[in-house]
Symmetry: C2
Subunit: 216 residues, 2 copies
Amino acid sequence: MSLMKHEPAGKLRLGVLLSGGGTTLLNLLSEIEAGRLNAEVAVVIASRECKGAERAAEAGLDVHIIAYKEMPDNEAYSRKINEVLDSAQIDLACLAGFLSFWRIPSRYEGRVMNIHPALLPGFGGKGFYGKMVHKGVLASGVKVSGCTVHFVNNEYDAGPIIIQRAVPVAEGDTCETLATRVFEQECVAYPEAIRLFANGQLQIEGNVVRVLAPGT
Amino acid sequence: MSLMKHEPAGKLRLGVLLSGGGTTLLNLLSEIEAGRLNAEVAVVIASRECKGAERAAEAGLDVHIIAYKEMPDNEAYSRKINEVLDSAQIDLACLAGFLSFWRIPSRYEGRVMNIHPALLPGFGGKGFYGKMVHKGVLASGVKVSGCTVHFVNNEYDAGPIIIQRAVPVAEGDTCETLATRVFEQECVAYPEAIRLFANGQLQIEGNVVRVLAPGT
């Protein structure tokens, strides 16, 4: 069984990867600004021109657009991402609505997080992204959904789970009303997971993440 | 799409089917006694001699032990159950830790409920019963579990979901501590689902259960 744990060392350097509106990035920035997250966004990578890339640039961040479709293959694409993250000397990469497949190198194992707008392992995997997740949830008739922050491995939505927060599915919900309710919990869960990581409280044991007491 | 809905008509006659300790039956009885559930347990069927059958008899209920292993096949077994439920003139059958497979006849469609100690569709299906459910949850590393009340069809744990209630999976949880936390929510969810049924508020639309406003 592999044991992995980040050792805390001052302000955490984040790399944020996105493909869409950048709302998760904005949430992390506001948590940092409010002093609730001892971190800085060292670099932003967008997989295409998008609102999130614009917003990151407006916030004065170092933004790189690495367009998936312009690269010859996944290997070249992943290598390019690695180079940008390496040179920004990040401690943790945060996927924030990132829709391209980045093959994570071993040196970043246990240092990449994602947030998924459902309770994994349900409603995850290929094809479950963005609105499709909530559509699947509503069609299935489940009465509870939520969000999941997890470490990322090289399978879609299958890495060790750090935090989950549940929300009710309400009568009459649409994808939009459900997405809004889930996103409120995402805004709590993601910063909390990053805080736990920064404090060295997350220990990966196989597929299970143990949350250690502070100062362990 | 099939549309099904029970029309309320006075005190609900329940048939309770069990195989184990009978804790879910006791909870229903105490809800009835407290006046929170306008129902009566018209008959109890146990699939073997068990603590639950003893407790039901002690409570003065009409108890039938229909041992699965004494019947020639599943069809004969299911027919025997149907006969007992028919003659008790039940409105709703409640599985309460019932481990044998009862093939539900069409006349009981939409009139059989089960409670499962996890958030279906996760951790359900063949092999996920009793302690095995919580073992699977803990091994998977999920951080939220819960319980599910659903209508039963002729697939394991696959019928339309009525109510789900979530609980956190806590650091250091064992099957026992998790089971205890989930059972507290089961004790809320199952009576609530039965109340909604009794009030005619549950409408099955395909695989989705709509919860109608009272008096709809």
